[in-house]
């Protein structure tokens, strides 16, 4: 890491159990989401070979997906 933030701050909480992730198909793209609620998930990563999927705002990391819609 090459950062001005002290390592102890960057790595704080790294030992905690990582969140369980789920891979789903969302509007023609495979997406890795972190379930946050019933039927809702937060985008973690887009698993697609279509470059244009990475321009989609609904698939930006951190975006909330409503699985019902």
């Amino acid at each position: 890491m090459w950062t001005i933030v002290p390592p102890e701050l960057v790595w704080e909480g790294v030992e905690r159990e990582p969140k369980k992730l789920q891979q789903i198909q969302w509007h023609n793209a495979q997406v890795l989401i972190e379930p946050i609620d019933f039927g809702r998930g937060r985008v973690v990563q887009v698993l697609s070979t279509e470059p244009n999927d990475f321009l989609r705002p609904d698939l930006a990391p951190g975006a909330i997906i409503n699985l019902g819609s």
Partner: protein, 301 residues
């Protein structure tokens, strides 16, 4: 439904021609998959938009301005540049696995004509940062970077990767030596490895800015300037004076410069890129046996 992240669901609202003043409309361009109304961020809820249209018609207004889509794509480099290890959730991160393919889409999308990279980063993973920097450098479309707040550590190569770099008057760039965290094997090779990593970054920065390697090293290893580290904090003008950043300026200057570069590129559109991005003829090819065995590689922390 509208979750604030763009509309999902069919829409029958007619799309406006000519997204951007002075730019040819998208009529002759092939329809890209993401241009489907489903994913257009500019479009509101179809029902709401239909209602708005009705309202305007009732009031006798004839022209409805369509959604404006910029020809500039803006990439934000914020927080930590996240590398091969998922950082704990308290870090704000820029994810290379998203930025890199996004730049591929930017390169291919005919509607995007320039890239504005806005940096406010504290640094992060070297390989991820250099990967993003190389992607920006390798774009055939004009790119301008703007450092706001801070473009520290690995932020510096990303800032200089753009064709023209700006720094706000109050923004800072911290240059300091790379350090290794975690388990470090106490052998001389570790130091050589660290030195090689340092060289990679120094080479990238000096090749893409006006600063000399000697000057950059001097700034990097200066003592007494930083409280917890060795290195130098360059504030606005100082970064320009050192030759690291091209120009002092804010948003207006950065956007104007990008527009200018776009126009320049358009007027000479048949010419090749800035220079040979890949100098195969000059490359020195090492025979396999000369490549030192056990060269470290991979994760950098």
């Amino acid at each position: 439904m509208d979750n604030g992240l763009g509309t999902v669901g069919g829409s029958k609202v007619p799309r406006a021609e000519g997204f951007y003043p002075g730019v040819e409309g998208p009529a002759e361009e092939p329809l890209m998959p993401f241009e489907e109304p489903n994913h257009d961020p500019q479009e509101q809820d179809p029902a709401a938009q239909q209602a708005a249209l009705e309202n305007i018609k009732e009031l006798g207004q004839t022209e409805v301005p369509g959604p404006m889509v910029s020809r500039i794509h803006c990439i934000n480099i914020v927080g930590q540049v996240e590398g091969h290890v998922l950082l704990p959730p308290r870090n704000k991160t820029t994810k290379y696995e998203h930025i890199i393919p996004q730049l591929v889409a930017v390169e291919q999308n005919p509607r995007i004509q320039g890239v504005l990279v806005i940096l406010n980063t504290v640094g992060g993973d070297i390989e991820a940062g250099l990967a993003i920097a190389e992607m920006i450098k390798g774009l055939s479309k004009p790119s301008v970077s703007l450092v706001l707040g801070g473009g520290h550590s690995i932020g510096a190569p990303i800032a200089v990767a753009a064709r023209h770099s700006f720094i706000a008057d109050s923004a800072t760039v911290t240059v300091h030596p790379i350090r290794l965290t975690g388990l470090v094997v106490g052998v001389p090779q570790t130091y050589e490895y660290l030195d090689k990593m340092q060289d990679r970054v120094i080479r990238f920065i000096t090749e893409n800015s006006r600063i000399t390697p000697e000057r950059l090293r001097e700034l990097m290893f200066r003592t007494g300037d930083l409280m917890r580290d060795i290195g130098t904090v360059l504030i606005g003008k100082e970064a320009v004076a050192a030759g690291l950043i091209d120009e002092l300026g804010g948003l207006h200057k950065a956007v104007t410069k990008l527009e200018k570069l776009i126009e320049e590129q358009k007027s000479q559109s048949n010419e090749p890129l800035d220079g040979p991005l890949w100098q195969a003829e000059n490359a020195e090819i090492l025979p396999v046996k000369d490549i030192p065995l056990g060269s470290p590689g991979g994760v950098d922390h």
